[in-house]
């Protein structure tokens, strides 16, 4: 059975973690960068999403560090998360290819009529 598409914040979060283990604030800044500044996760949203993907086994805690007296917990993508992200990328690529192909046909047709 095919899995449900990932929500964009979750997709971006997994994409950020695909680079390597990151702490919460690192994920927020990376997601903002990946999305070209369009998506800025708030802390509450981030941890609600993390809670879900950790429960689903897509992400797991990597290590803890204390920087300037503040706890930083790093998270990493699991193999299951890797597979899930790959499947989502394939799905998006397929949809994008179909959409691009049809747009090209449409434009040719309208270009021919014009």
């Amino acid at each position: 059975m095919s899995e449900r598409p990932l929500h964009e914040p979750t997709f971006l979060m997994l994409t950020a973690l695909a680079k390597g283990p990151q702490h919460g604030y690192g994920i927020i800044t990376d997601v903002e960068q990946i999305s070209g500044g369009r998506v800025r996760l708030r802390a509450g949203t981030l941890y609600a999403a993390l809670d879900r993907v950790v429960a689903e086994g897509l992400v797991e805690a990597d290590r803890d560090e204390v920087v300037d007296g503040r706890l930083r917990r790093y998270y990493r993508l699991t193999q299951r998360g890797d597979d899930r992200l790959a499947a989502e990328v394939a799905r998006l690529q397929h949809n994008a290819a179909v959409a691009a192909g049809r747009l090209e046909v449409r434009r040719r047709a309208f270009g021919g009529l014009a």
Binding site: A43, G44, Y47, D51
Partner: protein, 391 residues
């Protein structure tokens, strides 16, 4: 206090919206993220940020509650409920059987089969045709609700741990009763004790269907203290019933003289209560034509037996306190449904009262919907949330 100190304090206040367990695991790390993302000189959390934290905290709370439903306490609670309900039904039938049997005789096996305790020959008499229904239909429906056999059969299936068979049987009894009653225009559904019986079977079917693990049969109870206390409950119920019956003679009373003599003779006070006009409150407590005396004899005993038996069985069970607390929900729901059914007066004549069937149907439909929506079996032993490394 510095700006950062004030901001941190405000964030900590907001983080109290999260469940304690989640806060224990993640409060410091979320606080770190919040402080890292704060603007220089920021003194208070922004409105959107605060709303985001509160909303996320509520989502986490709901998720954690849902995950707990798959964990062991709920499984234990449901297994215990599935075990207790049929035993309670058997207990009630046994109490009624012994009480009426001692007073009026036990009747034939056929009388006992249809639950006509203390009415020898009623099974044979009921084969006569009447204006409402053929007698055979009456016997089947009586056997399903008032008779002891279905309760014994269900208890046997549950004790053996045959979950699916027990669930199918528990669902079959109220559905068969409803089908027979509605197709025959039979007015049996109007009786409060029928509501209780149908509800009990419906609830049992629901519990058996949604339980994340199979009932553990006898292992759910410490059977020796439970059996002893159940026997004591039956004896107490019979004592109450017989004792009250002898204290409640039905005889005419002069109201004027009653006021003067009430304090001198407590029995007259009960006679006075028996003549209070019947209204909503009377229906609420299941008082019929027999007045308050009947309520004390039947409903009072019923309620007392249920409460006492539940208490002693739960206290004597191996389940922890949390399980006991969780068990309160289905019984509270049952009480609400029962009270709601009493507010619907039965329709006259042969039309029957389908309104009273609605709670049972809702329970069964909810059970089916739940099962269809959760076709993937839950594993109660799997961790509900992977543990994060210690801080």
């Amino acid at each position: 206090m510095t700006a950062a100190g004030g901001l941190e304090k405000s964030y900590r206040r907001l983080l109290r919206w999260y469940p304690a367990l989640y806060r224990h695991r993640h409060e410091e790390e979320i606080l770190g993220v919040l402080m890292s993302a704060a603007r220089p000189g920021q003194r208070r959390p922004g409105a959107r940020e605060s709303a985001d934290l509160v909303w996320s905290a509520l989502k986490i709370r709901i998720r954690m509650a849902a995950r707990r439903a798959d964990s062991r306490p709920w499984a234990a609670a449901l297994a215990l409920t599935a075990m207790l309900l049929p035993l309670l039904m058997v207990l009630l039938k046994l109490t009624l059987f012994l009480d009426r049997g001692v007073q009026y005789g036990f009747g034939s096996p056929a009388d006992i089969l249809i639950g006509a305790y203390g009415e020898p020959g009623s099974f044979a008499r009921s084969f006569q045709l009447n204006s409402y229904s053929i007698a055979f239909t009456g016997n089947v429906t009586d056997a399903l609700t008032a008779g002891p056999v279905p309760a014994l059969a269900l208890a046997g299936l549950v004790c053996l741990g045959w979950r699916r068979a027990a669930a199918a049987f528990a669902a079959f009894v109220p559905l068969a009763f409803l089908a027979i009653s509605l197709t025959n225009g039979y007015t049996l559904l109007a009786a409060p004790r029928v509501d209780v019986t149908l509800y009990a079977y419906g609830l049992e079917a629901l519990v058996l269907l949604i339980a994340p693990s199979a009932p553990r049969g006898w292992h759910a109870l410490r059977w020796r203290p439970s059996a002893l206390l159940a026997a004591a409950t039956v004896a107490a119920a019979i004592g109450m019933n017989g004792g009250l019956r002898s204290l409640l003679p039905a005889r005419p009373v002069n109201p004027t003289a009653l006021r003067l003599r009430l304090l001198r003779d407590p029995r007259l006070f009960r006679d006075y209560l028996a003549r209070i006009p019947h209204g909503f409150i009377d229906r609420l407590f299941g008082i019929g034509a027999g007045g308050w005396g009947d309520w004390l004899l039947y409903q009072g005993t019923l309620v007392a037996v249920i409460i006492v038996a539940l208490t002693i069985m739960l206290v004597s069970s191996a389940a922890n306190r949390r399980v006991v607390a969780l068990l309160g929900f289905p019984f509270a729901l049952g009480a609400v449904i029962y009270l709601c059914t009493l507010t619907n007066p039965p329709l006259p004549g042969a039309a029957g009262n389908a309104l009273i069937a609605i709670p049972v149907l809702l329970i069964l439909l909810a059970a089916m919907a739940f099962v269809l929506a959760n076709s993937r079996p839950a594993d109660p032993d799997s961790p509900s949330h992977p543990a994060a490394p210690a801080a």
